[in-house]
């Protein structure tokens, strides 16, 4: 990997992280006052699910030859890697379990994983059509 591509990947990750922060803050401030608004961390869920679908599409498209490898590095490892987050999702799940919110914790841990994997799979298929 060239030093330039490494730099592009890192900066794209910074942009992805900033996008996550902005979107998560907007979603949190609009859902917090509604019923079920605090039942789940909707911001992190929306980010991880949308990012998983998009990475599936990207990897599928690169696999099909529609896009070059450097796009998977910059947009996949970089932007979408910085946009989605495992550490926050894990922390939020642990918080729910500490508060004995078993169902919410199970949904946030296990169901998020299953749905995100299904979305990534659907994305891989969609991307391979490109």
């Amino acid at each position: 990997m060239s030093p330039l591509l490494f730099l592009v990947v890192a900066l794209a990750g910074g942009v992805g992280a900033a996008a996550r922060f902005a979107l998560d803050s907007v979603i949190h401030s609009t859902t917090a006052r509604r019923r079920l608004g605090t039942a789940l961390p909707w911001g992190t869920l929306a980010i991880n699910l949308s990012g998983s679908l998009l990475l599936g599409v990207l990897v599928g498209a690169v696999g099909a030859g529609a896009l070059g490898d450097e796009w998977q590095w910059a947009l996949g490892s970089g932007f979408l890697g910085g946009y989605t987050t495992f550490s926050t999702a894990s922390f939020e799940t642990v918080r729910m379990l500490q508060q004995r919110r078993w169902t919410a914790g199970l949904v946030n841990g296990l169901l998020q994983l299953v749905v995100a994997t299904a979305l990534a799979g659907a994305g891989l298929w969609l991307g391979s059509l490109l």
Binding site: A10, S25, T44, L55, S87, V94, L124
Partner: protein
Amino acid sequence: MAAPTSDPAAELPSDPDTDVVDVPVGPPVPGPLHLASLALVFVGGTFGTAGREALTLLIPPSGGVPWAVLAANLLGAFALGVLLEALVRRGADHGARRTLRLLLGTGFLGGFTTYSALVTDTAVLWGSGAAGLATVYSLGTLLVGALATVAGILLAAAVHRRRVDAEAAA
């Protein structure tokens, strides 16, 4: 064993990535498009992504398992537990503590860890007929990651207690 009289982690934020965390005291926090906050998250996210990228170059995937992403996610889950517990034990989320949370937590560890690669690699493994390995990899990351977060929280809480005891004894 008696039930604990109070939840020692009651002050931890439920959604640590946002600006609008549920802290009872402190000055009002700025909105989501506050430029200084965005800049902190951007800088942290750039270095976190660079760290994950360097791990990926050092430890290439083998046997279909992306070892670098696995290591980054588990290390990051542990470190976020340490960071958020240590910060919340020291006081409300503003000033230097808020700066550290956004730079190191939301930015660096958010960029260092990744959810999209975890599930896309899982879907690719599943699609290539390795459903068993896909399940072990994804569920293993989830479970060990949660245990790593708990371990991080407990470690930071223990360190804080020792510090408080040492100060009381002094």
